[in-house]
Symmetry: C2
Subunit: 221 residues, 2 copies
């Protein structure tokens, strides 16, 4: 089966072992994150997937935190920013944020990263730049625009993350449901009253975006 019995062992399971590189490490890490969730993003697991020891990774990456930032940005590769020439600024803005949301939905781990990692990669920057551009088209500038990007991205990220946490574990959803169901109507009359709406989703994302946009448009400075 192998033409020599000295050192080289046949590798049929993998498409020939690529040499290690930052790129390959990030790619592998993202794959693990997508498949196993946030617990898949570990130095040891990445190393194992690359058929090496964890210490080998430190040649290309200073630590897990830095690697996480790379993985986040690489994960945002698939976000689609519509041609700004085509639709209205608002439609384009919503479409871009929707694309961002979709990417995060598809891998909850990325949503978690996005929530806790400061975005400095090129894909994050491209998305921010795009949103700023649309806001500018819409006549929103300066401070409002600067803070608006933050607020819009934060909102999208957290909607994705919440959705993800709920999907991830049936337990979690059950926990919430039982918690809200057994709510003390005397102590929390308003929450008890709104129970259904608090848990509904769907239109929610759109609603939030509209609210934020409307608020920003009003409050020009």
């Amino acid at each position: 089966m192998n033409n020599s019995n000295r050192t080289v062992i046949s590798r049929r399971s993998r498409p020939a072992k690529e040499p290690l590189s930052k790129d390959l490490i990030v790619k592998t890490a993202l794959e693990l994150l997508k498949n196993e969730g946030s617990s898949g993003l570990s130095m040891r697991k990445i190393a194992k997937a690359l058929d090496t020891g964890p210490s080998s990774l430190y040649v290309y990456v200073t630590n897990l935190q830095e690697l996480s930032a790379y993985v986040l940005d690489y994960g945002l590769d698939k976000v689609v920013l519509p041609d700004a020439q085509d639709g209205s600024w608002k439609t384009n803005l919503f479409d871009a944020l929707n694309s961002y949301l979709t990417v995060l939905y598809e891998s909850p781990g990325i949503a978690e990263l996005a929530l806790t990692t400061i975005p400095v990669g090129s894909h994050s920057l491209a998305l921010m730049e795009y949103i700023l551009g649309r806001l500018h088209e819409g006549g929103i500038r300066s401070t409002s625009a600067a803070w608006g990007v933050d607020l819009l991205l934060l909102y999208a990220t957290s909607v994705a993350f919440e959705q993800a946490s709920r999907d991830q574990k049936g337990t979690t959803l059950n926990t919430i449901l039982t918690s809200y169901e057994s709510l003390d109507v005397m102590r929390y009359p308003m929450i008890a009253n709104l129970r259904d709406e608090l848990l509904s989703s769907g239109e929610r994302f759109r609603w939030g975006l509209e609210v934020i946009l409307q608020g920003i448009l009003q409050r020009q400075d």
Copy 2:
């Protein structure tokens, strides 16, 4: 010093060892979280602080995740909800959120927990109930109110968390600064232009709250 030399060893360093209890565990955990940040919240460290082994904790708490939820809620103990009789609904709403923000500022670890833990404890519920009440006073009901609470709390939490991440490490701030400073003006003209505003804070929190409120008020359904 001790009246018997059999089993009981003198305990002068601690105010007499209290028996273990869920309450004591949560209290100790919160203390550790406040002092050491999120890495302080570990079963083993809590156990050590309580002078016992980690396995002892599992009598009172099913796992770390559950404990975290308790710790979060206990941490929100100090949030002040002003008497609804006194000021305007808007002032009261802002004051409550400001108090929430202050509590999170004081211990970044709690902010992190708040961002990633579904709030089901009594203090979280009380805060939600209070905000819903103020929104109701302001004429905001039903869906808008339900989603509005979420949005307002999310916003406050994340402002605190971002601030915390920046304070925690001088490194992080430096990373952002150098990243933005060396920004490719050709590729990201809008970001480069708004660099200063993107990093400023202070008025920021208030601005976001106003934006969200204004947006909600407009968009009644």
